[in-house]
Structures are given as structure tokens and as C-alpha cells.
Symmetry: C2
């Protein structure tokens, strides 16, 4: 699909977005519940479509881990429906008055949350994202232009058909949710669709995100990459440090808030081999800087001396640093701006760390696995923004909106 | 200056920004006062440098209006200094806790305002912007990379020399304020400097803004273009409508919050020629749609039937519409998303208008000239954002910051 077709789809989405923007919460919640019911009713059709996608992927030799992401089951379809029901239960950010005041001349000023408009979401082969993203956009009053992976095209089509059926039974314009289909030229066309699409959100691997953030003329919200560090300070509670490291590294290694690099205070040289014992026992391979490798030969060199890579696997990098300031310098050189942690009982060090580290989330004595919309209590999450403009950190429903100022006077002029 | 030199300057700016981010308000205010004093002390040098810029512009036949913007006087230098003193008196947004809560497991979460980092500002030949932008960036904890017009290069250099002298006497890194010099390749290099510059803000004409928003790999805040409409509803107070129209159109026609198009309810056909009388008497040329021209032949056709153009002059476009819904449709087709006004005493119409118009500011019975950081009480303004991401509407000090989450626990894991 090239730019002209995007233009048509985006214009229809804009009309739907204009109506959605004015829809009260109750109407949107009714639609979400209808969409959930339609998904459940279409379960057989969705699973058949998914089976075709999976068969195609298997015959072209796609890796098992990708096929697992692609595969839907009755439980996963129920999970998508349950996600929409959950969204119906969340507060609506649209209409919230962020702040308000009255000018000296009597004009009332209110800053009010409003939807962004038409949101383009580019994602990979997980069909559940289709329902998830559509629901989050709808609840926040936005129309969604969804561009999933072509390997999931049959599944996505069946899911969007069901979602649109739910929209129509509840009196909404089906163009509030649109599946865009096409090859790489479609991504290019979406990135060129300035004025047609208000915001692009890429969800997926580092390559996809890099392509979109550097090539898009449409404003982008960058999500995802987490090269997360943890610094164990000299007077850390070492049991606490070990527990948090194990949790942040091993509880779910393939996610962006998992730990990638541990920095250890030089005073803890004796403890470092014990930490490596624990990591080893948990099945984590340890790569180390020269100082670590001298302390414990089990640590092997960091491949290509690349400390910026997000491994998303059961490996961890380990380096010794002289103090909190050297830890801060190290993190500044390598952070992806996601989540950075200090384990310490020293108030000066923790204050220095939280004040000087520039990242979406800075943690003291807690696992970076808490950096998550669900854990934050947002109820829904479209991703974790690692950029500074607009939203930073876990993005819930409020982060899918912008604001406008409404000024009401009685004839005032300057 | 090409990308390699930007890299050097941006790295120095980053170091300065890291220090600035941790500077308390008192230190920043001391620096602003020292910068103001240095500007006053350098007045003779600055005026001499400016005279050279003006002489160069005159000899190359630059228009008088541009030379007026370029020219500095003792009053204008004092004005720049006074602007910095005013900034010192404003609250510091950095460190504000936007919101905070405690997770069920006892982890404290705080969302705290922090500086954006290194801000690139690209602007045209008004040397006072140099001091103004540097001051706003400093107060909000950001380092500024300033790229002014080459026609103001001598003035800008003299101003930045003074500002840096002030920074140094107050113990700050002079690289907190950097003047970048070069031709069009400099703008291109700034737009390519992703990771080095956190945000680019173009301030100037439509061409400059269009170039930057469509070509930049660095996130941009779009400011400026205001194709502002005003709708006179059937039951408007017509004296109020006339007063507000005159104010919005004529008080300062060359600014972005000035009125460009008036939409009149069809029931007010008889009043329309009286409105044109008033506009005529105020020296405003009226262009009209066919319905208006039929009512009053003094109205001439809209050149090229272009209703999107921001004239920034004493001309106005006038069109008849059937009702508030047709006015909303018209505005949706032509708005630049800046400021849109309704004059009405009908609550249903005003609610419909404020709810359905998608713009940074929507006004009821007040002049769009109030859409201004100063009028809003922000004390300082870097521009008026017409984009939806990050900041929308007048941008004060808080809009020059982002946030980070700080999580403090006692060993919690998932």
C-alpha cells in the first residue's frame, strides 16, 4: 500500500477519530465490551486464520520462538477479550482538566485532555497486539491505523473483522480501527503521512524502531530498547543486591526492563566471585571487564567489547567501578535511557544517582522489573517510552492523549 | 559547520547540561543576573557589532522591516537584560513532583520534572532571541545550541560572549550557551544530530519550520503558524463580535495569534456589510467567498481561493456558513491547529465548538490575542506549539522540561 491508499484510509480514520473524540466514556466502554464479545464469538474463525499463518511460517522455516509469538490458542483469544473488558473498567483520560486558572481580566483558562487523533502503530508478529492496541486507542478516543507483520496477516484480518463488528453493533464507525496491509513500502508511506497520521508508535525490535525514529516525518514515540544497568554500592545490603539482580536478570530475560549490565563498587572485589557463583547457579553467563576477569576467570570477555547491546538473554555484563561517580559516568556512556538502578544504603549516593542519571526510570533498592504499566497501576500499557518528548517511561491511557486550552471570556480584548 | 563540529560542540554542551541539571534554582538565578549585568556592560560592544550587521544588510538591499528586526538600540539591549532578570524571578520547574504514589508492595514512585538536556534553537534575524532563548534554556536547566541568522552573526557573537562571561563569573560552564555558525549545511547537521541534541525548536517563518519538521531526525517542537478563524454565531452579541474581531485582526496583525478568517452565520447576512464597514474603516482589506461578495461588492475574491494562507497583514477572509457545524467543518479543513474562536451566547453551540475543534487553543467570546505565554501568566515563552506531542499552545518553562520516574524501595522484587 502506497501513500495514495494511506490517504484514503487515514481520511476515513480521521472522520472516525473526530466522532470518537466527542464520545463519552460510557459509549466507548460499551464498544469495548461489544468488541470483546465479537472476539469471543469469532474465536473459531480467528484460530483457523491463525493456523494458516502458523502453517505458512512453519513451511518457510521461521524460528520456533517466533512461531510461539505468532500462535493463538483459545486461552490467548480469551485473553485478548479480557484485556478489552479490563480497558472498559479503567477511567477515561479524555476531558480531564489538567489545570485551570482565571486571567486578571476574567478570562477562564482550562487545559483539558483530548485524544491525539489518528495513531499509527507498527508492530511485529504478535496478533494479540492487534486487539490490545486497538482497545487502548479506542478507550483514549483515538483512531488506530494498525500495521502488523505480514506473517500474521490472516490472524490480524480475522481479529480486526471481529473488532469492527463490535464497533458497528455499538454504533461506532468501524474506521476507528483499520488494518493496513502491505510490504516495506507501507511502513515508508506511514512515515511520510505527515498531517494524516498524528503519531507513529513502533513496537518491536531495535531495527524497526531505529528505522522509524530516524526516517519518519510523522512525530514518533520511541519505545523499547532497554540497556539497563544496576550499580552495587560499597555499603549495599549484599543479600538484597543478589536478590534484586537475580530477579531483574532472570525473571523474564527477554523484556526491555531486564538487567543487562552490573557495575560493582571496587570495595566489593571479594564479594564479586560470590555474585558470579549465584549467577552461574541460575544459568546466567557472565561477561566481564578485565578487572572482573582477574577476580574470577569464569567471567569471559564481553563480545566485541560491546557494552551497549541489549542481549535479552541469560547473559550479563559485569564491570568494576571506583565509586558512584564512576558508575554514573559509565551509565551515561552506555544507557539507552530506560531504567537504571542503584543498590545502596548511603543516602548521599542514592541522591546523587537519582539526580544525575538521565533515564525514564531511576530505581533505588528495587528491581527494574517494576518498570511496567501494569506494575505502575496504569491498567493498560502501549509500551515504555525511552524518549524525552511527550511521554517518558510506561505509557498508559493518559500518555495516549494531548491537551488543548479552552478559554472562555465575556468579550475581553487586549 | 558540518556534523563532526556539531559533535564537538554538542558534547561540550552535554557536559554543561549534565551539571546544569543538578544546579539548584538559586545558582541558576545568580547566573541569570550575572548574564544580565554582562549584557549591560557589553552594551557598546554589542551595538558596534550590530551596526556592522545592519550596514551589511543595508548594503545588500535587505527590506526595511527585516532591518528593523535586526537593529539593536540601547533600549533593546536593556530589554534583553531585563528579560533575564525577569526569568530569575520565575519559579523553577525542575524538581517539581508531577505526581507520586506508592505501589502495593511499598515501592515509592515519583514522577519528577527534569531538563530536556541539550536544546537546539534555529531562528531568524532577531538578535534579542539569542539572549531570550539562552535565558529560558538556562532557567529550565538545559544547555542551548543557538543557530541564528548569518545576517545577525556579529550581534549574536557579541551577545553570546557577554552571556558566557556572565556564566563564568557565576561559576557555570560557558558551554551551557553555544552559538553555532554556518550556512544551510549547519541546519542540516543539526537535524541529523540525533542523540547529540535532544530537541530542536525552529522559530521563524513557515519555510524554516516546514524544513525542520519534515527533515529532522532529532525530535522537533513545531511552533508558529497560525491560520486562526473566528465564527460569529447567530445569537452572538454583535458589538462584542465587532470589538473582538477588530482586536484580533488589527492589534498586531503580524503575529501568529492574529485573526485570518471570519466565518459568519447565514442569519447575519444583514449585519455582514456593517462588519465590512468597520473593517474598512480600520484599514483592513476584506476578501470574501461568493456569498459574501454577493452581499457586499467591496469584498474581493480570495487570491487563488487559498484559505490556508497566514497573511500576517491587514487583510481578512470572510465566508458565510449555515451553522456552527458548518463552521466546525470549515475550520477542520483549514486550521493550522493554533487558535480558533467562537462568538456566541448559545451554550449548546459553544460546547459543540470547544469540544469538536481540534486546536491548541479554543476560545469563546475572547480575543485570540490572549493566546500568548505572557498573557497566560507563564512569565516567559519560547513559542506557541501547534503540534500535539509534548507541549501544545504557549510554551513556558515547564514545557522546556520532561519528567523521569524515581522509584525507591527496600529490596522489592517481582
Amino acid at each position: 500500500m502506497a501513500l495514495p491508499s494511506i490517504r484514503t484510509e487515514a481520511a476515513l480514520a480521521r472522520t472516525a477519530a473526530n466522532r470518537l473524540a466527542a464520545a463519552p466514556r460510557a459509549a466507548k466502554d460499551t464498544a469495548l465490551i461489544a468488541m470483546a464479545q465479537a472476539l469471543r464469538q469469532a474465536q473459531t474463525t480467528i484460530l483457523q486464520a491463525n493456523a494458516a499463518d502458523v502453517a505458512r511460517a512453519e513451511s518457510s522455516g521461521v524460528a520456533d520462538s517466533l512461531i510461539d509469538r505468532l500462535r493463538l490458542t483459545p486461552d490467548r483469544v480469551s485473553g485478548m477479550a479480557a484485556g478489552l473488558i479490563d480497558l472498559a473498567g479503567l477511567p477515561d483520560p479524555v476531558g480531564d482538566v489538567v489545570r485551570g486558572w482565571t486571567l486578571a481580566n476574567g478570562v477562564d483558562v482550562r487545559q483539558v485532555r483530548v485524544p491525539l487523533g489518528v495513531i499509527g502503530i507498527i508492530y511485529e508478529a504478535r496478533p494479540n497486539v492487534t486487539a490490545d492496541a486497538a482497545g487502548i486507542c479506542l478507550k483514549s478516543g483515538n483512531a488506530a491505523l494498525l500495521r502488523g507483520s505480514s506473517s500474521a496477516s490472516d490472524s490480524n484480518r480475522a481479529i480486526v473483522d471481529a473488532l469492527r463488528a463490535g464497533l458497528m453493533t455499538s454504533g461506532f464507525d468501524p474506521h476507528a480501527v483499520t488494518l493496513l496491509e502491505g510490504g516495506h513500502d507501507l511502513t515508508a508511506a506511514m512515515m511520510a503521512a505527515r498531517g494524516l497520521i498524528d503519531v507513529l508508535i513502533p513496537r518491536g525490535g531495535a531495527n524497526l524502531i531505529q528505522t522509524v525514529v530516524t526516517g519518519s516525518q510523522v512525530p514518533v514515540i520511541e519505545t523499547g530498547t532497554g540497556n539497563c544497568h544496576l550499580f552495587v554500592d560499597a555499603d549495599a545490603d549484599l543479600d538484597m543486591a543478589t536478590t534484586i539482580i537475580l530477579n531483574a536478570k532472570t525473571q523474564r530475560p527477554a523484556v526491555c526492563n531486564a538487567l543487562e549490565t552490573i557495575l560493582v563498587h571496587a570495595d566489593l572485589a571479594q564479594w564479586t566471585p560470590r555474585l558470579i557463583d549465584t549467577l552461574d547457579a541460575a544459568g546466567v553467563s557472565v561477561h566481564g571487564d578485565p578487572a572482573v576477569r582477574q577476580l574470577d576467570p569464569r567471567a569471559i570477555a564481553v563480545p566485541d567489547d560491546d557494552w551497549d547491546h541489549e542481549a535479552l538473554a541469560l547473559t550479563v555484563r559485569l564491570a568494576m567501578v571506583a565509586d558512584v561517580d564512576e558508575a554514573i559516568e559509565f551509565i551515561r556512556a552506555h544507557t539507552s535511557g530506560h531504567s537504571e538502578t542503584i543498590i545502596t544504603n548511603d543516602l548521599t549516593a542514592s541522591t546523587r544517582f537519582t539526580s544525575l542519571i538521565d533515564a525514564a526510570c531511576v530505581l533505588v533498592n528495587a528491581s527494574s522489573r517494576f518498570v511496567d504499566g501494569g506494575e505502575f497501576g496504569f491498567g493498560a500499557e502501549i509500551g515504555i517510552s525511552t524518549q524525552k518528548l511527550h511521554a517518558r517511561g510506561p505509557m498508559g491511557l493518559a500518555e495516549m492523549t494531548c491537551t488543548k486550552y479552552v478559554l472562555v471570556g465575556q468579550g475581553q480584548v487586549r
